[in-house]
């Protein structure tokens, strides 16, 4: 156990007698943990920005309670932010932190179990009062007994030090201490040689209306940095070199931001204005926030009275020749189901974004899960086919939106995009796409009557023989006046029809239209070329599956991986790919929904590995699972 001095450096600090040792690391995982009120998400976010602008590859995992302010100092009130950064391309936010920053006893207690032996713990000692310790069930003070003997512990009186640094500002004790998260950030920025300029700029912008608070936070940040520099206890500075990513311009992006940007970009690629109808719901609300700031692109946001009205307004706008979009989470999809079914019957473009969270019912609003797959595919009355698409990383959310928009507009259909809590709030470096290179989509509005009998009438359900898509005729177009609705329509003319044979035909036509949407073939990653086990995933499990496969391959074993972006329709080669392997394993954050689809569709003995903890898979955990599923592994 390392012993450290918590005394603040005195005014005329002599400076450190010896320069710190510089240690190079290829990757580091840091977890900032504190009370919900301690600003850990902001701290983690800033560290991530510094890391991104430095040029590391990175991946983040915020983890916070559903309550806005859970009781202070309690275990349920702990909020944390984990960032993994490296000098190579990484796939996950990391399994176990190398460094844990614990702002109070609750944060220590809740997170210490994840730290490997020898890990670094940086503790804010000011909060380790008998009362706070008792609150989380510590019988004694873990900083004083030997319960942390396995770790390198730095005891830092962050609140006291911050207060000291802010003495000149005249802020109250309470206000001054609130800046202690910036002290922690400064210290970590020093330890990991992060650039500081962007954080100072950020703080001045964030607190533009309160220059005194801006100054206080900057001072606290600098004090943390200086503390690392001048305190001998911190004998080591770490360096993680820039990652060698493909050439281009990068920024850091979260999944929710990438979804919002995809929707803004949709106005550019389709030439259509967007109407977002949405009702606030965790973890999708940030998309509404972001889009409400981009009106200049022709994005209108309607904060509706409920989930149903949100999708209703979007569908109404689509009827009017706009791109209707609605954003929600699982409970909202349940409420929107009937309207999505109407969109299936109307055959109008509509984008439905489901940022999945733990269920059923209200479930775990701030935790991740993939249990809405069957809801997206089947959660409507009647035969109601809807294309379903799932992004695999935060940055990929942008491309997934544009894919979904292309399908919706070209094929006149609602499309469901399944993101999840891990993608929504997780972040990674994102190569900024070249707007001019984004492929365009032609809405191809109907302009002329089309009745095959030459009567000059307009038949709203006369399909394109290639795509089976129907014409999209918008109000204001003379001569194309027509009525559509949820009742079954006659093939072609679109008049109400209760004819049995017509209904049978229409059910098949709607199914065939969606089944015929072209999607790219599934690509398999099998560097050794000799794998007998295929691991197939979808959505946000891409990172952990890929990281686990790397570990298994590094051990000299072969494993093939493939990731499904299109859950409906499936890639045409999926059956053939599944048939190539002796064993198929499907890890999912649900009870095996994709696995059961594969089993029923392809009669393949797909094995399921599931997890429902509200947290993403860890690479270490999947590595062990892969090894046990490699055929012959036990023999």
């Amino acid at each position: 156990m390392t012993s450290t001095d918590t005394r603040p450096p005195t005014g005329d600090a002599p400076g450190r007698p010896s320069q710190p040792t510089v240690v190079r690391r290829d990757r580091v995982v840091i977890r900032f943990a504190g009370d919900s009120g301690d600003g850990m998400q902001l701290t983690g976010d800033r560290f991530t920005s510094e890391t991104a602008s430095f040029g590391n590859d990175l991946s983040t995992l915020p983890n916070y309670p559903a309550e806005i302010r859970a009781p202070a100092g309690t275990l349920p009130g702990v909020s944390s932010f984990q960032v993994h950064f490296a000098d190579f391309d990484i796939l996950t936010p990391g399994d176990r932190p190398d460094v844990l920053v614990a702002m109070n006893p609750a944060a220590l207690r809740a997170n210490i179990g994840d730290l490997p032996k020898g890990g670094i713990v940086i503790v804010n000692t000011d909060e380790f009062t008998p009362r706070n310790l008792t609150k989380v069930g510590y019988a004694g003070n873990p900083l004083e007994d030997d319960s942390l003997a396995d770790f390198q512990v730095h005891r830092v009186a962050m609140a006291t030090l911050t207060r000291g640094a802010l003495e000149s500002t005249g802020l109250s004790k309470k206000d001054a201490e609130r800046a202690k998260n910036m002290f922690a950030l400064g210290l970590l920025s020093w330890m990991y040689s992060r650039p500081q300029g962007s954080t100072e700029r950020f703080l001045r912008e964030k607190f533009a209306k309160r220059p005194d608070l801006a100054e206080a936070n900057v001072l606290a940040f600098r004090a943390g940095h200086a503390y690392g520099e001048t305190t001998e206890a911190f004998a080591v500075v770490y360096e993680v070199a820039k990652a060698k990513l493909p050439a281009g311009t990068y920024r850091q992006i979260t999944g929710n931001t990438a979804l919002a940007y995809g929707i803004v970009a949709a106005t550019h690629v389709t030439g259509l204005e967007v109407l977002l109808g949405s009702y606030p719901i965790t973890p999708a609300t940030d998309i509404l926030h972001e889009l409400s700031r981009h009106k200049a692109f022709g994005v209108t946001t309607v904060q509706a009275e409920d989930e149903i009205a949100g999708v209703g307004a979007a569908l109404g706008a689509s009827f009017g020749g706009r791109l209707g979009v609605t954003t929600t989470s699982g409970p909202g999809v349940a409420l929107k189901a009937e309207t999505i079914g109407l969109a299936v019957a109307l055959e109008l473009p509509l984008l439905v974004i489901d940022v999945q969270r733990g269920g059923p019912s209200t479930g775990l609003p701030t935790k991740t899960e993939q249990a809405d797959l069957l809801q997206a595919l089947h959660g409507r009355n009647g035969e109601s086919p809807v294309p379903v698409i799932a992004p695999q990383t935060p940055g990929d959310c942008f491309d997934a939106v544009l894919d979904a928009v292309r399908m919706a507009v070209t094929h006149r259909t609602p499309v469901i995009l399944l993101s999840d809590g891990a993608l929504a709030n997780g972040s990674e470096p994102w190569q900024v796409p070249d707007v001019a290179a984004l492929p365009t989509v032609d809405p191809a509005f109907a302009t002329e009557p089309n009745a095959p009998d030459g009567s000059g009438a307009f038949w709203p359900y006369l399909r394109d023989p290639g795509t089976l898509a129907r014409p999209w005729a918008v109000p204001g177009t003379p001569g194309l006046e027509h009525r559509i609705g949820g009742l079954e329509k006659a093939d072609g003319s679109g008049s109400i029809s209760y004819d049995p044979a017509n209904h049978e035909r229409m059910v098949h036509l709607r199914a065939a239209k969606v089944a015929g949407i072209p999607v790219p073939d599934l690509e398999v990653d099998d560097p050794g070329g000799a794998a007998e086990l295929l691991v197939l995933g979808w959505g946000s499990t891409y990172g952990p599956i890929g990281a686990a496969a790397r570990r298994v391959r590094a051990m000299g074993r072969d494993v093939a991986t493939a990731h499904l972006r299109h859950l409906n329709p499936f890639p045409a080669n999926l059956g053939e790919v599944l048939g190539r392997y002796r064993a198929v394993l499907v890890p999912e954050m649900n009870l095996g929904q994709l696995a059961s689809l594969l089993r029923s569709r392809y009669l393949v003995d797909a094995q399921s590995y599931t997890k429902m903890t509200g947290q993403p898979f860890k690479a270490e955990e999947l590595q062990d699972v892969f090894l046990t599923h490699i055929p012959g592994a036990h023999s």
Binding site: S53, S198, R251, K295, A314, R322, H482
Partner: protein, 360 residues
Amino acid sequence: MSIDLGMPQLGGLDLVPQAEAPQTAKDFTSDQEVRWCPGCGDYAVLAAVRSFMPTLGIKRENTVFVSGIGCSSRFPYYMDTYGMHSIHGRAPAIATGLAVARPDLSVWVVTGDGDSLSIGGNHLIHALRRNVNLKILLFNNRIYGLTKGQYSPTSETGKVTKSSPMGSVDHPFNPVSLALGAEATFVGRAIDSDRKGLTAVLQAAAAHRGTALVEIFQDCPIFNDGSFDVLRSPETAPQRLIKLTDGEPIRFGPVGDDGLGTFAVVREGFGLRVAEAADVDPADVVVHDAGDVHLAFALSRLSDQDLTHTVTGVFRDVQRTTYDDAVRAQVGAARATAERAGGPDLQSVLRGADTWTVED
């Protein structure tokens, strides 16, 4: 009458393109066979709307009827305009999206008492409070027709139906009171068989910029036969039916010596009461003012919903910035700001403030 609240005065149809040539009821008649029961009040409303629409002088292709579910919600199929027969209760929400997206359309919602006051109550009140430029025709037959006769949220308490053999125990909504409570800027009421009165209210609704709720008492001869007969019969109607005219004293009943009705509406406490005109000082007779929400509310509650005294005409008609105009104004302002700066620039949004470059 409209109250000027200092907002730009725009009429309900001012942004809708005008038809080049006069149109007729026939132009608004689709080729679909009308399938309501014989004698259904919906026929009269359909005929009134078909002959009224051409008088607006707007392009037929810029007219949209959106409905929910119920007998009356088949209405759009019978109009040769754009139309959507949507799902139960959701028409106001769908129409809101359409109206926000397309200021050049005249958007009409057709709904019933079950559709708008039961399953779709939430969307109705929010459309009213937002004041979206929509005209909502609420066909109130006080019964569920399409599902073959259950009590509705406007059925009188004690109504015996298939689902209430011992009489319904539900207390009914008063749709006009409800709409006023939901901040409606226009509320009117008419009776299906009164073509003149209905057309006048429709005209005022169309001219109004904002959400206009028009309650139409509609007879369902199959499941609630004769429910409004007391308002039609020459013996009973004069004593019960009060027709509002803005700026005129509220008098009704058989015509008296002064050429006005023998009954008058006068103030009493916070409300109103009906008196013999001869018994009151003419100065005490209430003069209708469609800008006075208190008066509108009191008129909506002149008697219980037993039709003892039933007010028709325009209860309230005031101007308030519409939701869709305000939303579009924000989009326009954002565009103008971006354009002054040479934008909007998608590439710079995607780049954001903090980028770094990786070289080959």
